[in-house]
Amino acid sequence: MKAPFDLTWRFWRVWQRNLAVYRESWQINFAPPLLEPFLYLLAFGVGFSSMVGPIQYEGRQLSYVSFIAPALIAINIMNNAFFETTYASFVRMYYQKTFDALMATPLTVEEVITGEIVWGATKTVIATVIMMAVVSLFGLIDYPSGLLLIPLAFLGGLAFGAIGMYFTGIVKTIELFNLPVFLFVTPMFLFSGTFFPVENLPAWAQALAFILPLTHLVNLCRALSWGIYHSSLLWECLYLIIFCLIFFPLAIRKMRRRLLK
């Protein structure tokens, strides 16, 4: 027997709960998005750029740092959302029994999981805004088009949060998250056109890269950071939306099976 999909605006209560906890330790939460871009831009801007020199990309000449800065934002979006709905959600579910407490109130599993994913996307937006401020100090984001990175961070946050939650629905122990990190996140980090253009890969690897969501997020982040629009961006957006539409219901299904026994 299957219960209907029961989702109302009440998922917001779960979001509020996570915000309340986040606010208790905001100093710690603010640190990584503030410091990480400094480290990356320092390493690649000072250390690496002298070896690479200016590069050609889509008919434009630009510095290596301005090539990778938007990709760093995309990676930050992926990491924030993915790690929030995997490790952090798993801790809430398995160790803190937070989901058990929530589900004994008028909230449903659907609302708990939706609240978690939307919260993950929100936390991603906060981290992205902090990171944008740092990257902007180096003059690497074009405004006002760069402001669109904020809604993009939310969309990307939903996509990576949904697939993260899907993994949380199926892993037995927290150590097993190493698998999706090693097989999914790390390859994307390296091969999604982040540190070198996808076109440098052999054809079969390019095809593979275009299946990965980060490739599309990186393309979108570059376009918005540089203020260059073309029609393919709509397809990239659509890809991320479809990715959400697939993994969000899948995540809910897996979590229902996991939590309601």
Binding site: M1, A3, D6, R10, R13, Q16, R17, A20, V21, E24, S25, Q96, K97, T98, D100, A101, L102, M103, A104, T105, P106, L107, T108, L259, L260, K261
Partner: protein, 304 residues
Amino acid sequence: MTTNSIDARHIRKTYGDLVAVDDVSFQVRSGECFGILGPNGAGKTSIIRMIYGFSPMTGGELMVFGLDGRKNMRAIKARIGVCQQENSVDPDLTVRQNLEVFARYFDIPRAVAEERTRKLLHFMALDHRLDARAIDLSGGLMRRLIIARALINEPELLILDEPTTGLDPQSRHQVWSRLEELRASGLSILLTTHYMDEAARLCDRLMIMDHGRIIVEGEPAELIKNHIGHDIIEVDEPSAELRAYIRARNWRHEDLGHRLIIYVEEGNQMFHEISGVCGKEGCLMRPATLEDVFLKLTGRDLRE
């Protein structure tokens, strides 16, 4: 007509081949404290999980406040308070925040939530730790916080799954007296416990389960009277002579090897006779308890 708080009819729960709850029917009347007792794996927690919607039922019918658990779970959950076995407080939040955040899940307006938080934390004797982080609380304080939290929506039914497991005697008695006050105020309570003294003290009625089935149901005093009698005589290291003496008189007893347990109706006379045979050393008469009933009905074998 007053509806029962809980009306369970022929409920079943299976996990694959394992039958956790096997055709169980019981009622929790409005305003009473009802206990579910049983060894580990008897099906107590499975029943409780079905009541608050964590476990879809395999079969049967479960009505809470006259509402069908299959269709109206959200409405049911709005009117119950649940204390699960495991601590589920928000460790990073303070004691006060734990309740205020929880109140939002029930759509309780902020001002009302603050007022109830103040009252409940006072009631559970937590007012001295309002701004302590929940993670820093001792086991007893944590339990009290969870009970306070379960009362934030002013429930009509409180569900307690082993509420005092792991607590020191002071904390247990504190929790018990609060629960007695709640019961006196008309709150219905459903309780599972491993502690027979807890069940005897708090429960108006109870059932003892084993292997997913109900073995007996009734008032604690009545169960003791019907299944054990009035008193118990325990004899340490009984002699062969005493065993023969008891068998000859056909007295109800249990032989545990190093200990003999004799169930008695009229205690004094029998005690004189027995201590006449074996001497007063190692021979003890005491009133029968629920624990005697429990062990007699579920056996003394270890379950895990």
